[in-house]
Symmetry: C2
Subunit: 206 residues, 2 copies
């Protein structure tokens, strides 16, 4: 197996394989954000990426496999969580990261496009669930640490708090279309903490 044929993620960063992957995923994201899943075509993406068609067909094979790899790359390149020592500051950082991502001129349309693609493609939907699972897993410890410090009840469900911070931003982006600003993000963090303190995210409150 040559470097060019290696599976994504198994080669050293910065090598030719990594550069080819970056170029192809960038082109795939562009097509997706601009025109949507229905218009994705491996030959077109190869051309935009300046990569041989054969390489793209050999490495990814299908548009769905490319979508899955795009979401894997979104997990790999996403930022690690903060460690501020305060739940409000940690959750505000999380909310602002979601806010800057969803309002970014490239990332915002890309997220909308990936979510739209997941509606009709089960493998993309599974890769999308893994993306959010990874992001929730990354941030959940800040809630556990806050519970240990006594900032929220000890039995607070950490994952439910992280979901509660993201939800109002995604709801505006995907459903209501209401504008998203920094105040929306900060309010989402504060609302999640208020609910956690009231015991709403503690299992027995169900």
């Amino acid at each position: 197996m040559t470097a060019d044929e290696a599976e994504p993620g198994t080669v050293r960063p910065g090598g030719r394989t990594a550069r080819v992957r970056a170029a192809v995923l960038r082109a795939a994201g562009d097509v997706l954000a601009e025109r949507g899943f229905a218009h994705m075509d491996l030959a077109d993406i190869a051309q935009r990426a300046g990569v041989g068609k054969t390489t793209v067909y050999r490495r990814w094979g299908t548009v769905t496999a490319l979508m899955t790899d795009l979401l894997t790359e979104m997990v790999e390149s996403s930022l690690p969580r903060t460690h501020t020592g305060s739940l409000l500051d940690d959750l505000t950082a999380h909310a602002r990261l979601v806010y800057t991502t969803l309002t970014d001129p490239r990332q915002g349309p890309l997220f909308k496009a990936v979510i739209a693609a997941a509606t009709y493609d089960e493998r993309t939907a599974a890769a999308l669930r893994r993306f959010y699972d990874a992001r929730i897993t990354e941030w959940a410890p800040c809630v556990r640490e806050a519970a240990a410090r006594g900032e929220v009840p000890e039995d607070t469900d950490p994952r439910e708090v992280i979901r509660a911070v993201s939800a109002p931003l995604y709801y505006r982006l995907l459903a209501s279309g209401d504008p998203i600003d920094e105040a929306t993000a900060d309010r989402a963090a504060k609302a999640a903490i208020a609910a956690a303190r009231a015991g709403i995210f503690s299992p027995e409150s169900d």
Copy 2:
């Protein structure tokens, strides 16, 4: 202008025009939920609805116009809010209505499909925003009444509370893919109230 040529919404309910509209919108919803916006075709929808192609072309003309009318019909047929005299009961009713809609075998895929369609079609996106605006407007008075009863601060933003109830359910449906159950809905209502009581949805807290 004959009844058959009348604009949707201007004719008596139950007439031939209303029956044709119901059949065409039902077929449009079916195609959308099963195959997506990219596969919507007026002639195919007319055939599924058992309605003449000419009628469909004359009344709607484009797939986008049909999408807009579908969303108008979704507003018209959506349920009125409850008046229980308790904010928790009203918001729980709202949350459960969103929950039953999004988990309904027909409505759930339809909402996902309409939201996906809005990603690439600006008129559908505008119609979608009008749908959520109408739903938020329908439910917001229950927060104003609760504020008058002293259940939440007087300056609570009613629309922000209603959005906060829907958001966790839409986030799970569209983004994280986590399961949605009645407990999720009930928790969403309680979390929104806890945040409102803490003053998070009062303007000066921004």
